[in-house]
Symmetry: C2
Subunit: 196 residues, 2 copies
């Protein structure tokens, strides 16, 4: 049996909600979906959230593109969700692992975002060390915003922030501890951000 | 040394974001904060989220009251957040554990909500059994809505849903495995809910 390689072989999922703080929220969400190429991920929306599943690179690529396209409306938008890999109860949708590695969303428009994240490596006695290591890495990258209860603040340009999250997700997963969860909550175009 | 009793002795926290899908979002959030008695919890708001900390009963009571008061505006509102207890990095704010057990928010107005939750008992080899047990309990209570990747759907009247979440949080924590995380995502007054 080949070793399971986190972030390459197993399916990654992101269950999220996109919240435009405007009465036109449906238009903003539909517009972002329209502007994002989601053909490399499996996607399902219900009355509370949306889930996308597939190769890690495509899941993060689609998540970033959705955030970026909603940001372009200029509306205050929040994106919160949970990245997961290796859940023991996981099953269907693996067909999307056969997609190639060509990213379909490549818009590199700059956009400031402020966010918070938490890592939950499941069934791993050393999980706090894993978390502290990634927080230290954010500090070294200049993306660390603030310490706080239950999360860490990460901010900067959307492309750097998403690159950090994808790498943190890769780093926090291991062959021995395959089930990893990462929650993220992002705020875009917030009136609190001023000129940031 | 006395045993640590989950849900009674240690401090519970809830880091959340409230997202009214209206251009008047600031007014809706400020109104809900104004109508909710938060004096039994420590509270701090930053540019992405708000955290409340204190005794478990007060943290859940304040969370429910905030959701209920925003619901009363009739606007489509989303509430997403993470309940935590026993985080090894946890520290300040314990003064609020000396509050008595009298609930300060007792509005029992009925309100349908649809939600999703996930339990993450940290460093617990039997964590999947803990999760399945609580999902089964939701089914028995008639609150279970749907199975899905990475979460479970819970819906019904806001008071029953919050009672379920508080009990699930209590049940999933144990003296042996003290660090517990529970994510919840709620949708209120959604156009998707129709007459539900």
């Amino acid at each position: 049996m080949e070793p399971l390689q986190c972030g390459t072989s197993p399916i990654v999922g992101f269950r999220f909600s996109l919240h435009p703080m405007t009465s036109d929220f449906i238009k903003v969400i539909k517009g972002a979906l329209n502007d994002t190429d989601t053909s490399n991920v499996w996607m399902h929306t219900d009355d509370v959230s949306t889930v996308i599943r597939g190769k890690q690179i495509h899941v993060f690529n689609v998540a970033k593109a959705l955030a970026l396209h909603t940001a372009k409306t200029g509306e205050h938008v929040a994106l919160s969700g949970t990245f997961s890999i290796g859940c023991p109860g996981d099953s269907t949708g693996d067909v999307f692992l056969e997609k190639d590695d060509v990213l379909l969303n490549t818009d590199s428009t700059k956009q400031y975002i402020s966010s918070q994240f938490a890592l939950y490596p499941m069934n791993n006695p050393d999980y706090m060390a894993v978390i502290y290591r990634e927080v230290d890495r954010a500090k070294q990258l200049g993306l660390f915003n603030d310490s706080m209860h239950y999360a860490s603040g990460i901010h900067g340009d959307i492309h750097e922030v998403f690159a950090f999250y994808e790498e943190a997700f890769t780093n926090a997963c291991s062959d021995e501890h395959r089930h990893l969860v990462m929650t993220v909550s992002m705020s875009i175009n917030s009136p609190s951000h001023g000129g940031a």
